[in-house]
Subunit: 190 residues, 2 copies
């Protein structure tokens, strides 16, 4: 068979989005990098937004895979959720594409990018929510609204990892695990 043009396009686009951002990447640039005509891209993807969407969708699969690997069924719920969330946010910060898109949405706020990052958040929350539901069923934690809990956990992690550093010394991974255990599991009450 001939070369897989669709894969070439996806790879070229992912590379270019990572390097220059979504808005600064032109379809012609992608076409040239992928060694195809510009029109060819439109036989596989509806438009530029759809192309980004497909890339993020496969990235979501990758992130979930990475989070799963960070977990260990023998460990308690709190440790596993901590590991999963930490790994996910680490991934999000370190991965060139997500880092660039995160930066882009902050500085220009491209709506297509905002849309796709929302989808990524949604996927993360769903992933954590699933873990919470399992823990509730196993009796590891009290029954609670898993949607709200997953939402709050993600927000708390982002706050601790991203926002906290804006005005303070960064918190170590261990410290964050400790805080997570304290606030979400044990509670502050005496």
């Amino acid at each position: 068979m001939t070369i897989d043009r669709k894969r070439q396009i996806i790879e070229a686009a992912a590379q270019s989005f990572s390097q220059f951002g979504y808005k600064a990447t032109t379809m012609e640039q992608i076409a040239k990098l992928a060694n195809v005509g510009k029109g060819t891209i439109y036989t596989f993807f509806k438009n530029k937004e759809d192309l980004l969407d497909e890339i993020i969708s496969s990235l979501i699969v990758e992130i979930k895979e990475s989070a799963k690997q960070a977990m260990d069924p023998h460990l308690p719920f709190s440790e596993n959720v901590h590991r999963a969330l930490y790994r996910i946010l680490e991934f999000r910060q370190q991965h060139q594409l997500t880092a660039k898109l995160l930066q882009e949405v902050r500085s220009i706020g491209t709506s297509a990018v905002q849309e796709v990052l929302k989808k990524l958040d949604r996927a993360i929350i769903d992933f954590i929510r699933e873990k919470i539901d399992i823990a509730i069923r196993k009796g590891e934690i009290r029954p609670c609204d898993s949607e709200i809990t997953a939402f709050l956990m993600l927000k708390a992690y982002i706050a601790l990892i991203v926002d906290w550093e804006k005005d303070h010394e960064p918190l170590s991974k261990e410290k964050i695990a400790e805080l997570f255990e304290l606030y979400f599991l044990k509670g502050l009450s005496n």
Copy 2:
């Protein structure tokens, strides 16, 4: 004595900032509204930024006062912190000036406004932190880092009140109190 020019200026500025935002308000506009010459403003305030700063400073006093009133020394720590935070965020959302500034910093990101809102956040965290320290000393809650705890509580409240509504039905005041009690006080563990 003659009319209090400084107060006139502050009131005119506060009104104009509330109505049009910080950037869209001109010093001439403020002067006209306050019935003073433009130069007069500069005999009381170093510059436009300083004027905003002074307005926010007195707003902080007002917010603290309102939060104190919402609390009741006979109630337990968790209920009081919930009442204080809820009142503060309610104030911040309902007060025309803060609402406008919050919107402005999101859409244009004026740095002077960002600065001043940071100061407001700082004041809120300090207020909560103080309450936490008292509760620890009284033995109402376990010892913990009050700075991190206050920070996380504020972030959690903003997440529940502001962010949650972006994709879900708003949570009632009671529901939020219940969640706060569950996550921060009791903890999820069985």
